[in-house]
Structures are given as C-alpha cells and as structure tokens.
Symmetry: C2
Subunit: 330 residues, 2 copies
C-alpha cells in the first residue's frame, strides 16, 4: 500500500519501474505535468487516478477531486488548464444515481475552473473487482507565459509560502471513514488553483521559482522534492505553518504530523527573496489564499534536506513520507 | 456489466449520464477523440481505461493494448499521435515483476508507434478492491492534415472497407481465460494503426470520410454508429467480411457473431466511391492491412440501419451489440 502513498516508496517505484521503462526528456523531471511541444505550442500534460474512499465526503467527492487535482497539476506547472478527459472503472452494481452525482460534481468543478471535459471512457468490472468507482482524469494546458517553473529552480535566499491551512483534505477523509471515534467540523479543501496561480504569476512575473500542490505525502514531501531537485536546504518554521485546530487535534490523537497530510486545494510556492511580499499579498488577495503564510526559506546548506525549527526551539530533519498513514485519500 | 460492453447499453449510459453532465461542442460528436483548439493548433484528445482479464494473453498484454488503443483512437480521428499519459490502479500484492512486464510492453508499443509516455500516476488499493492492474491511458495528437473525418460524414455511394480479419482479439481473450474447452492457434491483433492511417490518408487525400477502430462492440457496432450519425444505410456483404477460420469456428461453437467481437488492430474505413480502389491498394500495401477487404457500401435507404446480405442470399438488420457476450476484453 505504501507504494501508492506519494511518499518514499512511491518515489522508489517510480524510479525503479516507470522511469526505467519510459525514460524520455519530458518525463524525466518528474514534475506533476510533462511539458511537451505540439506544433508551435508548448503544452502541459498530466494524469491522475482517483481511488478515494469513501467516494462522497464532506466538501466534495471523487468527481470534483479528480477535476480539481488535474486542474491543479496543470496550474502549478504554469499552464492554463483547458481540456480534461475522464476514464471510469465502475464496479458492477454501482448505482447509476451515484454515477450521476459524481458526473454532476465533475461538471460543476470543470465549469468553476473554466475547463471542458471533452472525452471519456467507461469500463465495468465484476462485483468485487473494484470499489464502486475509480476515476482517471488527464488534462491538457497551454504554457503561454514566459515563466519557467520547476522543483529544481529553488535558490538560497528564496522564500517558501504555503497558500493556506494544511491537512484538511486528508483528515476529512480519515474521519469520513467512520473508523475512528473522532468528530470534527472539517471539510475537504478540494478546490481549483488555476485562478490563484494566475493571480500570483501576474503579481510576480519572473519571481516565482516553483509551485506544487501538496497532495499525497503532504507539504513535507513536496519540500523534500524541492530540496533534493534544487540541491538546497529548506528551513521551515513549525509555528508559521498554518494548521486549523481541528486538524491539529485529530493529528495529535492519531500520532501523525500535519506536514504529511494531504491537501487538495493548497500549494507550496517558492519565490525569490525580493518577490516575497508581493507574492504573499497576491495570494492573500484571492479567496483561496486568504490564509497564506510565509513558512520558511531556502539556504545552501545542508543540500537536499528539509529542516524544521520546532515550537520548542530545536531543529530536526523532516524526511519524505515513509509508509502510508492514510491510504486512498485521493 | 453490459454498460461497459461498448454496445447499446454503453451508448445509453453515455447519453443519459455523461453527455447530460458534460455537454460541450468537443464532446458532443461522441467520436473516439475530441477535437480541441489549443493556441494556434488543432489537437485530438482521447482516453481509455483498460481492465482486460487476463492481463497477459497471446499476442499482448494490458500494457501494449492500452498504448495501441489510445494511439488508434487518435489515429482514426486523423491526428498524428504524439504523447500519452498512463494512470495505474494496482491491487495490493500485484507483483512488481508483472508491473515491470506491463511497463516494458507499454514502452515497446510506444516506441513502435513513435509516441512518448510522458506523464503518469499510480494508486494502490487494498486486496480485493481491484483485479491486479487497471491502466488508463490518455493521448494527445496533432491534427495537421486538412482531412475532416467523422462518423457523420458517410454519404450514399461510399464504400466500406475493413482493414483485416476481424474478431481475433476478442476470441483470443475469451480462450485465454481457460473457461472454455476450446483451443485455437490465435493471437490478439493488437497493433498501432497510425502508420496504416497515414498511408491511407496519403493515398486518398480528400477521399476518406471516416475511420473507426473496431474495438468493443465490434464491426457491427461501428457500422451502426456510422449509419445513425450519417443518416444513411450501410449494406454489408457477409461473405466479404474477412474472418479467420479459427475465429469463425470459436464463434460458431459459442453462438456469437464475429461482427460483434472486438478487434484491437483493425479499422473500418468509409471512402467515397472514386477512392475505393486506391484506398484498398494503399491499405493492402501496408503490413497491417494486407488482408483488407471491401465489405459493403453506403446507400440512402433505410436511413440509420445496417443491413447484412447473408451467405444464404437473405438480408437482415444488424443492430448494435446488446448485452455483453465477452466482458473485460479491453
């Protein structure tokens, strides 16, 4: 199960199996989207499979999650999301009413993000060969801005921003399963980030180094990817990371760190030092970034590591996610 | 299960649920690929989910099937296939050796077709929540030819060609399940059709009305889609349809009609009357079209129907596939 967590085992699997088999220049950066040339245009192409359980949860369902996730993977690459495809694997007996609810939710999410779901496919498997409904979305976006973004672009002196409170999606899913005797007034943060990204890129042309939406593996895993790819240290101030009390409380009860819990509508942004103020202002001026915070900075040493300055004044290394505390959160 | 068969129930599902939810000009023609404008370019975008059982079968596996299927959906729309994405849903415990075999097969198929698998995703679900491995591929192609193709473009006087013997993939999968006490020396016809399509379009610029790869639902379902979308009658000569003896024998034993059995490397082509000879020659000059045959023609009456002139001299209506004699063949 850990191979699907988005953390260390996933990275090992990707490197050992997928990169090995498909090695090509577009795949190799292992960004959320591939950048490809089609005719005279530069496009971003991305895909994600969704197996979230339960399918319906407070604040969303597998449908808007899939649309927003693909919109976000395109957005953080700097692309303008345009068109989506959707492939469904349905378990025999999955209620048509539920399918209608999922597709209606996808259509609403697509309209909100301003993208079209233009092609699709449906397969049905026997009872017991799936879990209701799995959705795989792919998306195409147009890279029509000059910005060149990437996890390898962080430099010492850069500032690290998180666009809002973290961990709400992951904790919401966990509680929605009803296996834990915890109740909290939480909903998933699933949302399309293309508007927020456009606001940021308009405000700081040339100042943004990279953006990543913090899904599986959480903020900690994204920061590790940035530190490794850029050969820099990322130093995070624990007290600065926005976490709602309900998320913090649930994480404490469960013994997990909110830094590893998935969001579906939050992103980590690295900007150069001089752009930090403008970037923060731009994010906070958008409805989806009102609680953005500067959480850390980039320095040169120790390269490849993420350090956390804790509330108690210590410093510890924050590794990528190992194992999977919350399987099937997306 | 019939909702995933590619036949009548699938069409009902698509019209009632997906088209209703996502209605937009790119989706509405319900072609295998959507045609979209990105920047200054016209692109084709398509997706398919693969749930074939067994995953490995004579002549291929779920990996090359997925790559070829997506390449073919792009090709028959007239697009030059360029880039693919791949989303994997793996069942906990699926052997890494099998995953390597699938990805190696995908990489070989991609190299053969001249496309790159540039982005992907992997999710893992618990044991009993999938069946080994499901793959969803999406693909982007460039529409850089003037040809405007579509199932609504057939006109009375047109000629209908099938690019090779039909039903081999479907019968191979059925026999590979080992549930029937039939043995036959058959392998799947899975193959990338982009080279064959390019040869045809080069030979008959302006003469090709539409192409469709005959997958789920078989040739009969494709012909019905053409007849309905174009408001024409398609008259097929049963004796002219190429079917290998092993496929015919297996179908007779099972009481199914080869016209409904899936191929994964054959296409139905409609060309205008004057182009019929050149089209047939072009197809037969390519390794994947050596056994192409003219199987019928288009006339104006009765609109929307497919008529079969049988071996015994009678004529009967051939409907779309109803029910699913062969679930999970792709």
């Amino acid at each position: 199960m850990a191979h699907g967590s988005g953390g260390k085992a996933t990275q090992t699997l990707i490197e050992a199996v997928f990169l090995d088999a498909f090695r090509n220049p577009a795949l190799e950066p292992l960004e959320d989207s591939a950048v490809v040339e089609v005719g005279t245009e530069r496009l971003a192409l991305t895909t994600d499979s969704y197996v979230v359980s339960p399918i319906f949860f407070p604040g969303g369902d597998i449908g808007d999650l899939a649309v927003n996730g693909t919109v976000n993977d395109l957005s953080v690459s700097g692309a303008r999301p345009l068109y989506l495809s959707a492939g469904f694997v349905l378990e025999e007996g999955f209620p048509v009413a539920d399918l209608r609810r999922v597709t209606a939710s996808m259509a609403r999410a697509a309209a909100t993000a301003g993208v079209g779901v233009v092609t699709g496919d449906t397969k049905v498997v026997q009872r017991g060969k799936a879990d209701g409904c799995y959705v795989t979305t792919a998306g195409v976006g147009l890279l029509d801005r000059p910005a060149r973004l990437g996890v390898a672009h962080a430099r010492p002196g850069d500032t690290v921003i998180v666009s809002g409170p973290i961990g709400e999606h992951g904790v919401t899913i966990m509680l929605a399963r009803g296996e834990l005797d915890i109740e909290a007034d939480l909903i998933s943060d699933t949302a399309p980030l293309n508007g927020l990204v456009a606001t940021l890129l308009d405000a700081c042309p040339g100042g943004v180094r990279c953006m990543r939406d913090a899904t599986r593996g959480g903020v900690a895993t994204i920061l590790n990817e940035i530190a490794r790819a850029s050969g820099v240290a990322v130093v995070v101030d624990e007290d600065a990371v926005p976490v709602r009390p309900a998320v913090r409380g649930a994480c404490e009860l469960l013994g997990i760190d909110p830094l590893y819990v998935a969001c579906e509508g939050r992103m980590v942004v690295v900007v150069d030092g001089p752009s930090a103020g403008a970037a923060l202002d731009a994010l906070r001026g958008h409805p989806l970034g009102g609680e953005a915070e500067i959480v850390g900075r980039v320095r040169d040493d120790p390269p490849g590591l993420v350090l956390l300055r804790t509330t108690f004044g210590g410093t510890r290394i924050v590794d990528m996610l190992v194992g999977d505390p919350l399987p099937r959160i997306c």
